[in-house]
Amino acid sequence: MATKASRSSARLMISPAVILLLGWMLVPLCMTVYFSFLYYNLLQPGTTSFAGWDNYYWFITDPSFTDAIKNTLFLVAGVLFITTIGGLGAALLLDKPMFGQGLIRIMVIAPFFVMPTVSALVWKNMFMNPVNGIFGQIVTGFGFPPIDFFGQYPLASITFIVSWMWLPFATLILLTALQSLDQDQLEAAEMDGASWLNRFWYIMLPHLARAITVVILIQTIFLLSVFAEILVTTNGGPGTATTNLTYLIYVSSLLQFDVGMGSAGGVIAIILANIVAIFLMRMIGKNLDA
């Protein structure tokens, strides 16, 4: 039993962490909300004034905002689709008995440890470059015209690169979940004559449902913030073809120096992320006291 003394020292020990995180969360958050109601451009110093909802109005009615939302949704949904289905397949495959399982698993998981800027540049130059990239050389080798991936399919190309980076994450988590499945149950089902499809549908999939939800929620939170991959490949272009919400806010705050507008965008991004976070937190919370 914790004594009164140890309880107060425990409170003392937790306080630095609480204070730091509270400061880290509250100070910038309040500043963002405050700035979002100001006309405030770093290029015009000394002309700060109250803007009401103007920044929000201009940010939301700007056509690039609609584009950014569409691109964000496409990117998140595309990557989620590829990584969840692909990760499920890879996990089912890696769970089977084979030779050199450890080595194969390492090869599948490795892309997750590659920093975003490196993977984006490597794919862009070594693979998707229309002339010298491997894809280009294969295509022209068969006598087809070269494909300019980032010119013709910019968003799909980025979706592909980001999927390569996140597929290992989905695989790893689904594999972990799969390995905690009770083997006896599967065997009993097999003896009763259930086909593989039936065992997958009625035993494995329900068991994995929770892990799949977690993969989707966590990835969504990270995918809403995809930034470096866009910066080094397309700079958000051509036009606004690959500008997602994160990149749009970056452009208005650090390239156009429009603090008010960037902050309004920031508040919107926070609200969007929170919608997802609520569901994730609820799932984590349920598991906490178990």
């Binding site: 910038p28 890879a90 920093m115 972990t176 929770r210 977690v214 984590i284």
Partner: protein, 277 residues
Amino acid sequence: MARSISKKSKIINTLVAGFIGFLMFFPILWIVVLSFKTEENAIRAPLEILFSSGWTMESFQTVQARSDYLKHFSNSVIISLGSTVLALIVAVPAAWSMAFVPSRHTKNVLMWMLSTKMLPPVGVLVPIYLLFRDFDLLDTRFGLTIVLMLINLPIIIWMLYTYFKEIPGEILEAARMDGASLREEIIYVLTPMAIPGIASTVLLNIILAWNEAFWTINLTAAKAAPLTAFITSYSSPEGLFYAKLSAASIMAIAPILIMGWFSQKQLVRGLTFGAVK
């Protein structure tokens, strides 16, 4: 109950999975090959590249000579190690008190800490940038270290908490009965048992800090740029020098790739917040 699995199906599994693994790993493998080639050879057709004669370390030397690679490498090391160590100093006591002296608020505190991790970084980009500008922290290793420490703090606390939870409280109580002070209890009893958990927490967080590519790019320029930001200078037109880009990339990812292989299990624990076991 291990069923006897036919050798044939095992071989088929190996071939299929091996092929998938090869496809996933190929880009990494490919830049290893390219990094040891000359620029002229690196842009030839893939098969020609593989069998072209002449392997050279030239690109690695050029990358270092041209852009002072080692400076950015040491920036990465200092920032990722520094942020992890600082976070650990704050996190160990916090996790200890939540794991061993839980109150009715513990769960809420833990959940709240995690929720700070869900804040999209771009939502606070403007204020952090302005604060950094006003306090002369832009392009300093110190500033970046602090930000990365705060970003990873929730994950570190969370992971340590789950590891500490696995240590039976009775052992600590026994030490207390024998007259150990709180300090002695933590140093001599808890720490040795918690070392494996702390080590894997450190490992995962070095990886996360090393690869962090939002704040590192936005808050640094030439001086304090770690490898993530340094590599962006290759986006154009240097990106077309395949051998040099490959050499720079390999040097940037190699240390983390090796550490990552050791931390696969911790990855699941650290990034799913215990929601998947």
